[in-house]
């Protein structure tokens, strides 16, 4: 467990440097679109800190795929849930998500649909894979008798 936490921190620290870069690209895109012209010191500071934290979490959370005991979909679900919370918090803190239930539902629906799709694809693939392996296992056991 301790090893996984250390690895989480290591990966997170590597990734968090990209947070401000993403923020810069985002602000540049918003400025090009004419959405924003000026930024306050508070907005810039909040953006840098929150995006660094988001990148830290997003980068560190890849560790779930290294935990052998966790099945892939569980790892994806855990990864997705943490990312969902982290993204939502970042959007809300920076005021990028319009207030109200509507935008929140749209945001959540996109996340949930994406994850259901991934889960279904993995489950079907695992079913097919086990069926194939079982068939060979049976044949092999038959040959060895």
């Amino acid at each position: 467990m301790k090893q996984h936490i250390l690895e989480f921190c290591r990966r997170g620290l590597i990734a968090c440097g990209f947070g401000p870069l993403v923020l810069a690209a985002l602000y540049l895109a918003l400025q090009r679109c004419g959405t924003i012209d000026t930024l306050t010191v508070r907005e810039v500071c909040l953006g840098i800190v929150s995006l660094s934290a988001l990148a830290f979490i997003a980068g560190g959370m890849n560790i779930v795929y290294q935990v052998e005991r966790l099945p892939l979909p569980v790892a994806i679900l855990l990864h997705g849930s943490v990312l969902y919370i982290a993204y939502l918090a970042t959007f809300l803190v920076n005021g990028w998500l319009a207030q109200g239930v509507g935008p929140l539902l749209v945001f959540s629906a996109i996340f949930v649909l994406g994850f259901l799709l991934i889960w279904a694809v993995i489950f079907v693939a695992t079913k097919r894979s086990t069926a194939k392996v079982n068939k060979i296992l049976k044949e092999q056991q038959k040959n060895r008798q």
């Binding site: 979909p73 392996v133 296992l137 092999q140 056991q141 060895r144």
Partner: protein, 147 residues
């Protein structure tokens, strides 16, 4: 199929079989070699009892509560004194790793089950089931596909 016997007093004694796929013959040869070298069983401990467990009768060897345990055909657990890593090196080829703490007797696996969580479980004849890690399942699949 050819039979070749090489007598060399200097070389380490070994039996090598070159085949297209494992068969009952290769299984018999392997069993014979293990029996001949006296390594076809393990000593298992259970309460005050000590029993010699034939490798063929062991369903799997796993780590439970930090102890290496062999589970037999009746689902009975026997504590082993060897480490899993050491056992892996000396056990016959039909003992395959299914996760970092379990070696499964391939002959005793009834089927692999796709769990609802998306993982894969190995189901043994005695009813015991254990998860198969993604890495090990990929190895098993690769090996089977190569047959």
């Amino acid at each position: 199929m050819k039979y070749k016997l090489i007598i060399d007093k200097e070389a380490e004694e070994e039996i090598v079989a070159i085949v297209h796929a494992p068969s009952s013959l290769t299984q018999q040869i392997e069993d014979l070699v293990f029996r001949h070298s006296g390594t076809d069983s393990l000593l298992g401990y259970r309460e005050d009892e000590m029993r010699r467990l034939a490798l063929q009768d062991i369903e799997c060897i796993t780590v439970l509560d930090r102890k290496v345990v062999a589970i037999d055909a009746h689902g009975t657990h026997y504590r082993l004194q060897d480490r899993l890593r050491d056992l892996e090196a000396v056990l016959p080829s039909y003992f395959i790793r299914i996760n970092k703490s379990t070696l499964a007797n391939e002959h005793r696996i009834v089927r692999f089950d796709a769990a609802f969580s998306g993982g894969v479980d190995a189901v043994f004849r005695c009813g015991y089931r254990d998860y198969v890690s993604r890495r090990c399942f990929a190895d098993i699949r690769r090996r089977y596909e190569g047959l």
